[in-house]
């Protein structure tokens, strides 16, 4: 039975790796629709493509969809996402080009191209790798990846320098702002202290807090009289009993487990 051409509002487009490939994968395409509009992916001109095979590049998607009109940009993501920001730092980018099966967003120049794309043939197989635009996979791709892994020391150094000049000015600014705000009360009269002020304060960390709390507790326990009031005696007795019970239960559980684990069963 033939595959239906439309599913759930998606157009089904079969694609093959090359002409001689036997079995196609299916791209599912649909107009991009989101509640929050993004400037890079305007919903009227953007096509969402699902199930993009691992060997399919931006260039090959461009090839497929130029039939419907000029393509402005192609985005590839691991998961459907509406946001996108250009990676600023080349050497410290979190996201490398996603591998595996992905989703793509194809942004056309004109809105009518999207409609055209929705009417692409779902019978005719498109091949991704052609004579003019061969796709690299396997050994050739890995060799290519290896070559592209080169890092230029000068470029890296200048990127680091750029980051640090920015970082230093940011830190400086923070310091400056903190000094400015010293002893300046806000509308409710509170004063914010920081470690950059004239009289630095200790950082507010969990460890610090813990220290203070234990110190307080120790102080209080020194002052406290033990086993003085009747209720204290009663409470400590009750606690002892509870502790005993808990230990007994624990031991029981442990013995049960040991019995279960024992391989030696003489009777």
């Amino acid at each position: 039975m033939a595959t239906p051409s439309n599913v759930d509002g998606f157009r089904v487009i079969p694609v093959k790796f090359r002409v001689s490939s036997r079995v196609p994968h299916f791209l599912y395409v649909k107009q991009h629709q989101v509640r929050v509009e993004e400037t890079e992916k305007p919903s009227d001109r953007t096509l969402l493509v699902v199930n993009v095979p691992p060997y399919c590049h931006q260039e090959s998607l461009r090839q497929i969809f130029t039939k419907c009109g000029q393509v402005e940009r192609v985005f590839l993501h691991e998961k459907p996402t509406s946001s996108w920001s250009a990676p600023r730092w080349r050497h410290f980018a979190d996201e490398k080009t996603p591998k595996g099966f992905r989703v793509a967003y194809v942004v056309f120049k004109q809105a009518k191209s999207v409609k055209k794309a929705m009417n692409l043939s779902s019978v005719e197989c498109v091949s991704l790798s052609s004579e003019e635009h061969p796709l690299q996979t396997g050994l050739a791709e890995w060799c290519n990846d290896y070559a592209e892994g080169a890092v230029d020391a000068v470029a890296l150094q200048s990127e680091i320098d750029e980051y640090f000049s920015e970082y230093d000015s940011r830190v400086q600014q923070e310091k400056h702002a903190a000094r400015e705000m010293e002893n300046v009360p806000d509308e409710e009269g509170w004063v914010t202290v920081s470690r950059f002020g004239r009289r630095p304060v200790t950082a507010r960390t969990e460890a610090q807090q813990q220290k203070v709390v234990t110190k307080e507790r120790r102080k209080r326990s020194q002052k406290e009289l033990l086993h003085f009031y009747t209720f204290q005696l009663r409470e400590s007795k009750r606690e002892n009993l509870a502790e005993l019970r808990r230990k007994f239960e624990e031991d029981k559980r442990r013995i049960a487990m040991m019995k279960q684990a024992r391989k030696f069963r003489p009777y």
Binding site: P54, G138, L156, Y167
Partner: protein, 783 residues
């Protein structure tokens, strides 16, 4: 006295006894009986003396000296374990079946002797044969043992004779052939420091003993002058590699038994070296010493030490180096196949490094050896995770520039520096201790800084704090025990050969083997790869991971109180731990080496495979005729359980020479040429097979599991994931590699299923140039 106390006393008495020299008796000496023989009289006729209350009957009359020594040795070992808190001594001492081949480091097997009657005549042992009721083995044994003990003096801790139950036969029949003549086994516990010595120094040439020494060793004995000036009789054996030296005891046994008992050398075998072939370098490899790689490992460590020195002497870094630790297995001699030095560059020159090319010969596999470099703490380090990353990269750049000044090939990357040094590539990684804390810091809404465990911080802590500690503990263990490294390498080889290597962390395997050396109960510390490997299999097969964590108590750092605490902590929160739990003094409460890997199913499979392998080995060893080929069987995986087998082009697998069975197409790395200077960084860490499997996993992780042998495997085995094959409703986020189920047109709407035909084609497309063919057993999961 409690029964335990009586048992303990009996053991102590046996452990300290000397019944072969000063026998004991039970009779009352105040009763005078002039006919009663003294203990000394008994010693004249018996090896071991323990006289009963009458004073006439030696209870141990039929006990051979060797068996008595073995019992005494067992008592001594038992005593050393019985008080240890880190062992479940009852379980280990009483509940485990102790196999002969797992107890002894080496076993000398003497096969059926065709000339046994002549032998008895020659040695004038007719009386003894009659005493032993025509059991030739038992009649000849004392002579054989006496000869061997003399010849192997100083090499052995103990020798023991394997006792086998005698089979029954009808009174009317003659005893079966197997009774009179079955192969007999002698177990050897060797002295690790001296058992493989190539030279036996005899008495000075002019002394009276020289004649005796000469007549004992025969033509092997020759007059030699040693470096200290002494001229003595000596026996020498040839051998260059460590592997050859281990054969020494076999050579001694064959020579002496031939000389004194005319036993054919072909009938004398040393069992204990059968697995060496798995970690032996093929002769085509350009290494100086074709042994089992011990020499190569020492060479890697030697070069690493040189690099270490160089790094410490380097000047011009903004901060001093506080510590350097090599964390790659090769730097603690535990890599199954240590790297081979390469100097010839392969591929195309691009800037300061070589780049592989798809259409030419695949460059040899050069692993980079990771070295962690901690710098001194300074207030100038930034306290922001992103900034620390940049700062570390700046350090890498500076380090690479300084190394270049030393005329080394060094390239900086944001995360590491690769440096080519004396034939090896090292990966130097800058680490900063505070980074872990910075990564953990989270500011809560009320402005407080909290430390929260994050995935990234945990991984960083494991790799920069725990790994160096573990590496040095393992390296220490390796230096104490000569054969630790070979047992470990075999263990890794076995797991890899069974295609499970990347489903378990390498450190976990190292800890499993380390446990055998730290807690060898009920045995002594393994002295050969053969017995160590069998014990490893038995540990994997029998450990109950659900109830007990495996605690590797390095240097006895954990006291019995600590151990009890760990055990109770473990029991109460078992479900929060991964299926396999290995704890050490450095990670008492968290199973950092087994988190995430292995999965319960993999652990179960490993145990099953270990059980089967062990059974197979036991069968092979119990057969009278030893078939060396059978020892390889546990290392050959059964492929019929997998759904698809992807066969690879062996000529494109640079690690092909590490395979269990070599193929004729295997490529070997080229020889090291001494006078060629390397100007470009060779192709590093480029293993097409690994890259292929990674690409497959990245794309088809949800639909299948991929198994392969990183050590020269020439195929990838695939198992379909049953859950992925259930028809699912159409959903954007789950449409990868799916097609519309043509049969679904019901009420539930359109359903989708994996596009198996296309996936199979993708297997070929993704590995173009590497994949040879697909062998499809099933296009659906078995269940």
């Amino acid at each position: 006295m409690s029964s335990y106390q009586i048992f303990r006393h009996a053991l102590v008495a046996l452990a300290d006894s000397k019944w072969d020299e000063e026998g004991i008796h039970l009779h009352n000496e105040t009763q005078v009986d002039e006919h009663r023989p003294t203990v000394i009289d008994h010693h004249m006729y018996f090896d071991v003396v323990f006289v009963d209350s009458t004073g006439y009957c030696n209870l141990t009359a039929n006990l051979s000296k060797l068996t008595y020594h073995q019992a005494r040795h067992e008592a001594q070992t038992c005593m050393s374990f019985i008080d240890r808190a880190d062992l479940d001594s009852f379980q280990d001492l009483f509940m485990q079946r102790v196999s002969f081949y797992r107890t002894f480091d080496y076993v000398i097997r003497i096969n059926s002797l065709h000339n046994r009657k002549d032998l008895i005549k020659k040695c004038v042992l007719e009386d003894r044969l009659m005493d032993r009721m025509d059991h030739y083995g038992r009649a000849l044994m004392p002579t054989v043992i006496e000869t061997l003990e003399k010849g192997m003096h100083g090499r052995l801790v103990m020798m023991a004779f394997e006792l086998k139950p005698t089979e029954e036969w009808s009174v009317d029949d003659a005893p079966p052939e197997s009774y009179m003549d079955s192969p007999f086994n002698l177990g050897l516990l060797v002295e690790m420091s001296s058992f493989d010595g190539l030279v036996i120094r005899g008495p000075p040439a002019d002394s009276t003993e020289a004649e005796r020494f000469r007549s004992f060793w025969g033509e092997k004995s020759e007059l030699r002058r040693f470096q200290d000036g002494a001229i003595v009789e000596a026996v020498t054996f040839d051998g260059t590699s460590v592997a050859d030296r281990r054969r020494c005891i076999e050579k001694i046994a064959q020579h002496l038994l031939k000389r004194h008992l005319s036993i054919d050398p072909a009938a004398v075998h040393l069992i204990g070296l059968s697995f060496d072939s798995l970690i032996t370098w093929p002769t085509q490899l350009p290494v100086t010493c074709h042994g089992t790689g011990e020499e190569q490992q020492l060479d890697v460590i030697r070069v690493y030490d040189m690099l270490n020195k160089l790094l410490r002497e380097i000047s011009g870094l903004p901060l001093g180096i506080s510590s350097i630790s090599g964390v790659s297995p090769a730097l603690r001699a535990t890599e199954t196949f240590p790297p081979i030095p390469v100097s010839v560059s392969f591929g195309e020159i691009k800037g300061d490094r070589m780049v592989p090319q798809a259409d030419t010969v695949c460059p040899p596999f050069i692993p980079s050896l990771q070295v962690l470099c901690h710098f001194e703490i300074s207030g100038k380090w930034p306290d922001d995770a992103e900034a620390i990353r940049r700062m570390k990269a700046a350090f890498q750049l500076r380090l690479a520039a300084l190394l270049k000044k030393e005329n080394l090939v060094a390239i900086a990357y944001p995360h590491c520096t690769l440096v080519y040094y004396e034939g090896y590539v090292f990966r130097i990684v800058v680490a900063y201790e505070k980074e872990i804390n910075v990564l953990k810091q989270v500011r809560s809404p009320d402005g407080m800084l909290k430390l929260v465990d994050s995935e990234e911080a945990t991984v960083l802590e494991r790799d920069t704090v725990h790994l160096p500690k573990l590496a040095s503990a393992i390296h220490g263990l390796q230096q104490q025990n000569k054969c630790f490294s070979s047992v470990l390498r075999l263990a890794k080889r076995w797991i890899a050969a069974n295609l499970l290597f990347d489903y378990i962390k390498e450190e976990a395997i190292e800890l499993l083997v380390a446990y055998l050396f730290v807690c060898p109960a009920p045995f002594t510390v393994p002295g050969s790869a053969h017995c160590g490997f069998q014990r490893f299999l038995s540990l994997v097969a029998n450990h109950d991971w659900n109830v007990f964590p495996l605690i590797v108590n390095f240097n006895n750092e954990l006291s019995s109180k600590d151990l009890a605490e760990i055990q109770t902590g473990f029991t109460s929160i078992r479900s929060q731990f991964p299926p396999m739990v290995i704890l050490t003094p450095y990670n008492r409460t968290s199973a950092i080496w087994t988190r995430g890997k292995p999965l319960a199913s993999i652990l179960q499979r490993m145990a099953l495979l270990a059980r089967e392998s062990l059974q197979l080995l036991d069968e092979t060893l119990s057969k009278p005729i030893l078939e060396e080929g059978n020892f390889l069987v546990p290392f050959l995986p059964a492929l019929n359980v997998y759904d698809v087998i992807i066969h690879l082009n062996v000529s494109k697998c640079p690690r092909g020479y590490q395979a269990v069975q070599l193929s004729p197409d295997t490529v070997y790395p080229p020889a090291l040429s001494a006078n060629k200077t390397v100007k470009q960084l060779p192709v590093t860490d480029f293993d097409p097979v690994e890259l292929y499997v990674n690409a497959l996993r990245k794309a088809f992780d949800e639909v299948a599991m991929f198994f392969y042998d990183p050590f020269g495997g020439s195929f990838v085995a695939v198992v379909w994931e049953p859950n992925a094959f259930k028809p699912q409703p159409f959903k954007i986020s789950h449409m990868q590699f799916k097609m519309i189920d043509p049969s679904s047109k019901g009420k539930e709407g359109v359903m989708v299923i994996p596009n198996v035909e296309a996936i199979l084609e993708d297997f070929k497309i993704l590995g173009e140039g590497l994949v040879k063919s697909l062998e499809i057993h099933s296009i659906k999961p078995a269940i």
